[in-house]
Symmetry: D3
Subunit: 256 residues, 6 copies
């Protein structure tokens, strides 16, 4: 921490410039917490598949290493697929948070069961696997989708919000969800509207907006002096690597 301020870096694992505005992130700053931003240099335009998760990972790792070198205190990966979460934790010691893993744990603290409301049906298996690995398989009520691609979410924001509310109601009434979490970071900023829409229908459940929540939790971990386990995420052994010139591992790692 510089002075008594926690600096959180949000890394967007896509190459689409302007998808995430710095102003929106700056609006999330709170006393003692600043937020900065980076996008990756190689990878996909958006992430809606396991393939895109795979090709977003190397660029994300590079940006996480860069963030630690720049003195940042914690990193939040800006995608609900949590790309490169485990791999980038190995190459740094500052906390790296995935919004899916973080949001699922937060939702589990707040309600009996939670549902994920995401963009496309095809992401269902991926979210169920994330929940299962997080140990939260029994807390996941369902994964529902509005069937709008990531890059079209903002095209008609009212339609997007209406679709979110509709799926959220079904998640609560049919699937037994008692808390909700957005399944795409492109939905950032919609939580208020969705919660209001649900309250109008008499449904009073928390709606977790993953990026703001992950930023707050990241700062909380830094304040508590906590980071991920180096027994779970030890530094990778030094060895030859072809084709990823932008990934520069710490020399100390080479010595181990």
């Amino acid at each position: 921490m510089q002075g008594n301020t926690v600096n959180v870096r949000v890394v967007s694992p896509i190459i689409t410039k302007g998808f995430r505005s710095l102003a929106d992130l700056k609006a999330l700053e709170t006393p003692g917490v600043t937020v900065s931003h980076a996008e990756i240099d190689t990878g996909p335009a958006s992430i809606e598949s396991e393939f895109e998760l795979a090709v977003s990972a190397p660029g994300t790792i590079a940006k996480v290493i860069e963030a630690e070198r720049a003195g940042v205190d914690a990193v939040v990966i800006d995608c609900m697929g949590d790309p490169a979460l485990r791999s980038s934790r190995e190459v740094v010691t500052i906390p790296v948070l995935g919004p899916a893993q973080t949001g699922m744990h937060v939702a589990s603290m707040l309600g009996h069961k939670f549902s994920v409301i995401t963009v496309l049906r095809r992401l269902r298996a991926s979210f169920e696997n994330t929940a299962t690995i997080a140990g939260l398989g029994t807390k996941l009520a369902s994964v529902r989708s509005v069937d709008i691609p990531v890059l079209e979410l903002e095209r008609d924001l009212d339609r997007t919000k209406a679709a979110l509310i509709e799926e959220a109601v079904i998640a609560v009434e049919r699937d037994g969800a008692e808390a909700l979490i957005f399944g795409c970071t492109g939905l950032m900023g919609c939580a208020g509207a969705v919660r209001d829409g649900l309250l109008k229908r008499g449904i009073d459940v928390p709606v977790v907006d993953p990026i703001p929540t992950a930023i707050s939790i990241a700062a909380a971990l830094v304040r508590s002096g906590l980071s991920h386990s180096k027994l779970t995420f030890p530094a990778p052994p030094a060895k030859e690597l072809l084709g990823y010139a932008d990934i520069r591992l710490e020399p100390r790692l080479a010595a181990e």
Copy 2:
């Protein structure tokens, strides 16, 4: 929030005055976060059994209601049995956190599996049940104990710390823990020493000190505009209650 400050109230669910010092809690304040304290008026001297959890609950509920009326933003219950966590969430709308539930979710975010290092063997079933209900049964590596009663932990603090380190090493090497969490809030302040002791043995795992962590997470939830689900924890219906004059439910609850 008053101004832009989050006020967190720590409620110690025991009647032993001075067990928790306000100074120790004040030392946990960070920019934008203040901490206050309360003890219960009726209940046990310390909590080491299900019986003591039961008789600490009504007094704790009274103090949680009082905290919300006093304008506090969030409450942290100061016992790893999370007494009155579910019941007190029903009677207020501000976030109420149990350090066991919170700490287990945080430990699960940081490492593959975690162990709880607690005071007495008799608490094992209780911690396993807490983990299971939190959905984290598969993340709990083991529950280990130093076999020192709560009120004697500070009698010989060096012995306590040495015993904690010893059990922590076994938890990692034999049980497969990759993160640790203290199983008694009376151990607050020992995390640094235990982490150092483990590092000396080449074991680099996070050691979650539940109260400081729960305070940070509570503030993070308030900053994110989140509280527990009112679908999971709806206000209790208004009805006759004998024998608990100190519990004054909101009149609005009576109207529902």
Copy 3:
């Protein structure tokens, strides 16, 4: 046992006089088994929330201790929230049974999966947690409710029974239940009507009426010389307790 008779005490953890009639309990006596009854002195009028479970516990503990001193052979707690089950087991050595835990195990012996048909939707999380802690999470098909408060169940008994049958049919046909259990001891006596109603629709599943079943099982445990584990439920250590004059722990506990 006095002579060769097992004496089972039913403890109703509410203050509403006459909610449970002694005559109804006496009708459950069988050769070699007598049944007695007690109500608590402090606590709620009925139990429909975690809050009411919490404030019913101390009074229930007092009555369980009193039952053991009176020479009773086993206690059945008269509420499907199983209030004070774990805590009161610590303070006595005679078997203490909760109808929810007992009924769920019995239902699991009889059919592949079971559903709980209870009074209010708000109890769903509580029953799911009870099943999970009992180890029976995978056997619970669903928790369904008739949406009638406890103290109104007998106002229109025909309507109550019809609602029970309706939810039971859905539990079987939609949720996959192959056995049923009432989720409120206020429904005692309705099992025959519900089972008949289901048979008329061609559904032949057992309907567990929790209090009669728990009384029979309690007597069976006494006949088998079994009680709860003192390793799981050891006597609480002797220490100061404020505010519960009606709870008088055994002196022997103070000596341990």
Copy 4:
């Protein structure tokens, strides 16, 4: 029930005459409960393998049908492999209990986790499967064995009891068992000695003797008017069957 008496039939699924003495079973009778006995006509000398479970099943089914025709109220199968439990439940409507399934549910009611102490290591997978199907996989602490074949258990009963106590201690201290259950009905009658041996070592846990317990539970079910679900265990359709002349299904089954 004849008069007000419950008649329980114990069916030993082996051909070894005298393995189970009627006198030992008669000693288990209690007010209102009588016990009778049958052995099978075709099958193995003892059961220590999946193969022997398979060849004991048809003969067991025949004896269960015979018991129902004789007016018996409930059947207990006398082997911890629960042979023919599911199949024989299909062909009768009176309760049929397996001592393994029953004993595991009873042990789970009494303590946090239980271990099975059985005769041979080769039975471990079978017991783990039984627990898993009963929904109790998370309650099973371990399966331990004394490595004495079934038909030699009584050759040196002191040695058998000593071996049981030794494994029981390990189950409690190393595996975390807080209740115990014998894994062979040939051990009937040893529970008192094992419990005493454990108490001498300061271990106070219930020791479930499966046959006496299953008889008591069977009578409790009859008293409660309960039997297994006919949705889970419907009568088999009428059809040709070669080679099992001793199995005579009810004519009513042929009509369905």
Copy 5:
């Protein structure tokens, strides 16, 4: 293996001659793999209950022993109840495969979750138990049935296929299945039609036809030099057996 050819024996555990045609099995032969067939001599006409599973087991064991003696390399049991799977593995060393267990593992390799489409609703519990014991309880989306008895499946094959497609669509759309497996080996040969029917509705999921798949997997195991574990399935001890003259265990087993 004779020469370099793997010989797989399909054992149909029913007495209905011609239910399984050798020609259909011969059509499944591939380079280096031959298929032979046997039916049992004692047992049921078809298998639609736990009772029929029990009475098909001894005859199946006899035929598995016979197959090993005849020099066959692997056995596939021709029923989705996997009768005698565990018991017959004890008495031989060549691989014995059950199509249910095998098909469920294959389906789990291919898709996120699978459903079983079977003949009768009454088989649901049995399939759920099979999945649970295989460790695949969380991968099973649902068990659905067309409500056509085994011996009537071929009476109107178009109706059977249409019913299969209808249930398959529901399994995918409502239950979340992403792979399918037939729940009766009497449906052999319908996979192509069902897959085509699903593709016409835009559903592209694998349809596992259990017997052809189990034959291929059996040959793959033989090629890999693998068979079932003799620690899990040790030879049964030699002892007296009444009533099963057709089961001739290896003399070597008697010597152990």
Copy 6:
């Protein structure tokens, strides 16, 4: 299939030439099955971390696409981390198998529980996650390691084999494994020696050598007309991708 031959391609996801010899793979060919080989062009020298898994994935995807274009019938990824398994399944329709997922399912078919014997302790969490996602968390007895880096396994092959046997014995005797699977494809060819070593100690369990097994299973799937579910692994949507010139997705994918 060309003619009636199944062509399986093994893709080694590392850049170390000669680590995998074509001759060793050719030795695994069987009647009707040919095996070919490819190494990746960009990525790590070996894989011993989540970081190396991430940087091996894009190159692996490129080689899987290339294999399908070359008319290969199935692909086996040559690393027990199953890198790019899910992502490469999205971009092709031929079966792609990971040896870890495949080997775990095969081991589960053969024995009650299995252990993974791998190279380094740091891989434990990864294997536990793989088992959990495969649905096999309850079948995994333990993950043990010989503490020899991948590229040093062949330096002293006798020492490697001795270490494997030693850990295997502990896995069986202490952890309850009843089947074994190597946790590194660099151990290919050691199964015979390990099985012999175990037999000498009286332990008769299958030892799964993952690459030969995965090749056989891949061929079996092709013979059965099966591939992975396109509902679980749909083609990724067409969109911009920077920095992976070697990955050429099918034009048809761009049109969707």
